[in-house]
Amino acid sequence: MSVEHVLTTCPYCGTGCNFFLQVVDGRLTSVVPCKTDEISLGRLCIKGYNAHVFVQHADRLKYPMIREGEQLKKASWDQALDKIVGELEAIKEKHGPDSIAILASAKCTNEENYLFQKLARAVIGTNNVDHCARLCHASTVTGLLHSFGSGAMTNTIPEFDNADCILVTGSNTLEAHPIIGSRMLRAKEKGAKIIVVDPRDTPLSRISYLFLSQRPGTDIAWINGMLKVIIDEGLVNEEFVKTRTAAFEELKEAVRGYAPEKVEQTTGIPKEKLIEAARVYAKADKAMLAYAMGITQHSNGTDIVKGLANLAMVTGHIGKESTGVNPLRGQCNVQGACDSGGLPNLFPGYQRVDDEAVRTKFEKAWGVNLPAKPGLTLTRAMNEAATGKLKAMVIFGENVMISDPDLNHVEEAVKKLEFLAVSDIFLTETAQLADVVLPAACYAEKDGTFTNTDRALRMVRKAVDAPGEARADWVIACDLGKKFGSSGFGFSSPAEIMAEMATVTPIFGGMSYEKIDSKVVRWPCPAKDHPGTRVLHTKKFTRGLGLFAPVQHAPPAEVVSEEYPFILTTGRNLFQYHTGTMTRRSPKLEREAPEPYVEINKGDAKRLGIGDGERVMVSSRRGAITLKARVTERIVQGTVFIPFHYAEAAANKLTNAALDPISNIPEFKVCAAKVAKA
C-alpha cells in the first residue's frame, strides 16, 4: 500500500501552476493543489483539477506502429526507429537536409525541445524546426524582440495583485488563464481598475471597470487612438521617453491621424470610452498590460504587438514591479519551447542562427557544422509540403490536423509528404496519417522542466510509469540521435540535458536542477549565484533603448462581403484545451462543453431565424462546418465565435492561413464567414 503526492506542473495553459498528483499503488487518483506554490497559491482551475484523468486513459498509445498500406501495425522500438532513420537518411540523400522538418512541441519539456532542435540542426543539418508557438505568440516574439529586445512577459504573475490598472486585450483571461485571471480579481478587490478591450463580452469584461468592444481586426486603430489621446492630453511620461526610448517623434507622426472620432468609426469603440481608457491607463501608478491570441493571431500581429509596446513605453509603464507588458502564453511549455530553440531562426536562448559568432559557439559545443540559413516556419513548411518541396516531417506531440489554419489545405499538404513520423500520447488526427507512430510518455510519466508564461522554470516530476512501451520524448530523441550515429545524445537524465543547455544558453546559464528543485527561478539567470529575474528591462531594455515603432492600421486579410457577411473569430473555452486530445478524454471537462458551438449575437440570430441550440452551418471561402448555435448577447453583432477544440466541427476548416509577413503567424482571429440554418 503506497500513497504518494508528487509535486509537478500542470500540463495545460502557460500559467505553470504546481500541484500534487496523488498516486495510490501506481494509480493516479486525484490532483491536490499545492498551497505553498507561489504561482497558484493552492488554487486551480477545472482543467488542473482534472489533469490526472487522461493520463491513464485506455486510448493511450502503448507501442510503436508502422504503416502497412491503410493500416498502422504494431512494431518494435528498433523497427520503428530504424524505419524513421532510414527514411530520413534516404530523403536527405536525395533532396538535401532542408527537405526535412521537425516539429518540436509546446507540450514537451525544455530538455526535450532542446534535443529536438539539436536533432534537426546538428544531426539532420537543417534549421527547419518550429512548433505551435508559430500559431500563438510568434508575433509576440518578433514584435517585442523589435521593441524591447526580448519576447516574453516583462513581469511575473504574482505582480498582477498589486497593479492599479490592468489593461487586458485579446485575452479571455478567466477562461484561458483562470489562475492568472484570479490574480486580476485579487487586484480588482484591492481597487485596481480593469480595462478590457475585446470583441467578445468575456467573463472578465463583465466585471471590468471599462469594457471596450472593438471590431475584430481594428486593434492598431484603438491602440494608436489611445496613444494620440495620451500625447494630446500631455499624459506622456516625458522622463521615461527621453531616457529610455528612441524614435518617439516617428510615433507621434504615426498616430496623428487617429482622432477618437475617427477611431470610433473604424473600431466601433465610443470615443468617450477610448479617452477614458487612455486616461486611466496613462495615469495609473502601476499599470499592467496583458494580452493573448486576440492580439497576436492577425496578419499584422507583429505590428499590433509593437503598438502595445508603444503604449507601455509612452506612459513609462514598463520595467517596474507590477508594471509592464505581459503576453500570456497558452501552453504549459510554449515559452520553454521557444527558449530551448524550437524556432527556425533562433538557437536556444534566442540566439540568431545567422549570427556567425553564435553559430561558431554551438558548432564548438556540438562538434559539427551548422546551417546558417534560417529554416522554415511551421506555416511555411505546410505550404512547401503542399508544393512538394518539403518531403518529410517528424512531429513531436502536435496535432496540426486540428490546430492549424485552413485544415483542408493542411491535410492536403501532410498527405503529400513522402514520410511522416509522429510521436504522441494518443492516436491524434495527425498521427492517423503518419507512416510511423511512436508512443510517448506524458507529463506525469517523466522528469523535466517547463518554462511558464512568466519565465519561471517549473519542475515536472515523474509520478507514474508510462503505459506499455511508451517512452519519454527525450529518450526517443536520444535514441534517434544515436541511431543517426551522433555522439551528442548520450544523456541519461533530463538534468544532464539541462546542464548542457545551460552551457550554451546565457539566459539559462545559472540554471540547474539542484537550484530550481526547491526555488522558483525565472530567466534570465546568467550565473550559478544569480537568483533569476522577476522584472525585465528595469534599468535598460534588453536591446538598449526601447524602440518606438510607427505602425498603421490595415484591414484584415479577409474582409466581410455580401456572401460572407460575418466576421468569424476563434478561440478557446474554459473546459476544453486545444485539439481536445486530453480534455475530451476527461469526463468532467467533456461534460461541461461536450459539443462544438458557434456564439452568435441575439440580434443576428433573430434576423436569421436561428433559435438557441439549433444547428447551423457556418462556412467560409475554405470550408463549411455544421454545429449548434449558442445565441448570446456576449458577442458583438456581425461577429461569430467558434472554439477550435472540436474535430467534429473544426473551426480551422474555416480559418484563413493569411500570414503575418514577419512572424508568419496566421490570422486565426479574423475571417469572413456566413451562417445559415442547417
Partner: protein, 268 residues
C-alpha cells in the same frame, strides 16, 4: 531527516496508538506537501501551519486502503468532518486514529472559527474561538437589495473550478456532482449563475463543518465560508441541528414527530 514535531507525531501514531499509516503535512521541494507514511523514519520535516484538508485527502484514498489503521492530524473541524463521513459509512471510525491539532490564533482568525479546539489536543496550544464573522455582520446590516448585489458580484467571479466541491471533506458526490450537469444549473459556461451557488448552499446546510477549505480553494476568493456560517446559524435556529456529530441525523430526512415545528405545521 525528521524534525522534532515529526518524531513526536510518529511516536504518537505508530508507537502509542498503533497506527499503520500516518497522514501529515511535510516539507517537499521547498513546499509543504500532504504525505502518507507508514514508518517513523519516513515522516520527514513536518509542517502543520499550512491548512491542507487532510480529511478530504483521506476520503479520496480511503477506498484503496483495504486494511490497517490510519492516523490523521485532525483539527476540531476535521473531527466533525470525520463524524459526518462515518455517519454515512464512508469511513470506519474504528480505523481512524485522530491526532488532535489545536489551531493557531492566526488560523482561528482566518476561519472566523467559533469552535477551534479538538476533543483531545495532541499538538498545538489550544486557543479560544472568535465570535462572529465581520462580513456576516456587514451583510446583516445591508438591505436585501444590497445583499443580493453583493453576492451576485461575488458569484460573477466564479469560474467553475469545482474547487469548493472537490476540496470539501463532506461533499461526497464529487465523482458525479449534479452541479456539473445542466439539470439545475442552466448556464452553459461561466459564471454558472445563482442556482449553482444556492443549490450548493442547500446541499451543505446539513453537512458543512465550517473548515473553510472551499473559501481557501476559491480562485475568485468568494467568501464562501461566510455563506456557510450564515446558513449554519439558520439551521441551528430552525432545527437546533449542527453537523459534526456522528449520532445525529439530518432533520431534512426525518419526520416531524416530537419536533418543534410539529404543531406549527399542523395548522397553517
Amino acid at each position: 531527516m525528521v524534525n522534532d514535531l515529526g518524531k513526536k507525531l510518529a511516536r504518537l501514531a505508530f508507537e502509542e496508538r498503533g497506527a499503520d499509516f500516518l497522514l501529515v503535512m511535510r516539507e517537499e521541494h521547498g513546499n509543504v506537501a500532504p504525505a502518507m507514511v507508514s514508518k517513523g523514519e519516513d515522516v520527514g520535516v513536518v509542517r502543520l501551519e499550512v491548512p491542507y484538508q487532510l480529511v478530504t485527502i483521506l476520503e479520496n484514498i480511503y477506498p484503496w486502503i483495504s486494511k490497517g489503521k490510519i492516523a490523521v492530524i485532525t483539527r476540531r473541524c476535521d473531527e466533525k468532518a470525520l463524524a459526518e463521513l462515518a455517519k454515512r459509512k464512508y469511513v470506519d471510525d474504528k480505523r481512524i486514529i485522530k491526532i488532535g491539532l489545536a489551531c493557531t490564533e492566526e488560523q482561528i482568525e482566518r476561519c472566523r472559527c467559533e469552535d477551534p479546539v479538538p476533543s483531545h489536543v495532541d499538538v498545538g496550544e489550544p486557543h479560544a474561538g472568535v465570535k462572529g464573522d465581520e462580513l456576516s455582520a456587514r451583510l446583516a446590516k445591508m438591505s436585501q437589495k444590497d445583499r443580493l448585489a453583493f453576492w451576485v458580484d461575488q458569484y460573477k467571479k466564479c469560474n467553475k473550478c469545482f474547487g469548493c466541491t472537490l476540496t470539501c471533506p463532506v461533499c461526497f458526490c464529487d465523482d458525479d456532482c449534479v452541479l456539473e450537469e445542466r439539470t439545475f444549473v442552466a448556464e452553459p459556461s461561466i459564471p454558472p449563475g445563482l442556482s449553482f451557488h444556492m443549490v450548493r448552499s442547500y446541499h451543505m446546510i446539513d453537512k458543512c463543518i465550517e473548515c473553510g477549505e472551499c473559501e481557501r480553494a476559491c480562485p475568485a476568493e468568494i467568501p464562501l465560508l461566510t455563506m456557510r456560517k450564515l446558513l449554519a446559524k439558520d439551521m441551528k435556529e430552525v432545527f437546533k441541528f449542527a453537523p459534526g456529530d456522528e449520532k445525529t441525523v439530518s432533520p431534512l430526512n426525518t419526520t416531524l414527530e416530537g419536533e418543534l415545528m410539529e404543531d406549527e405545521c399542523n395548522e397553517r
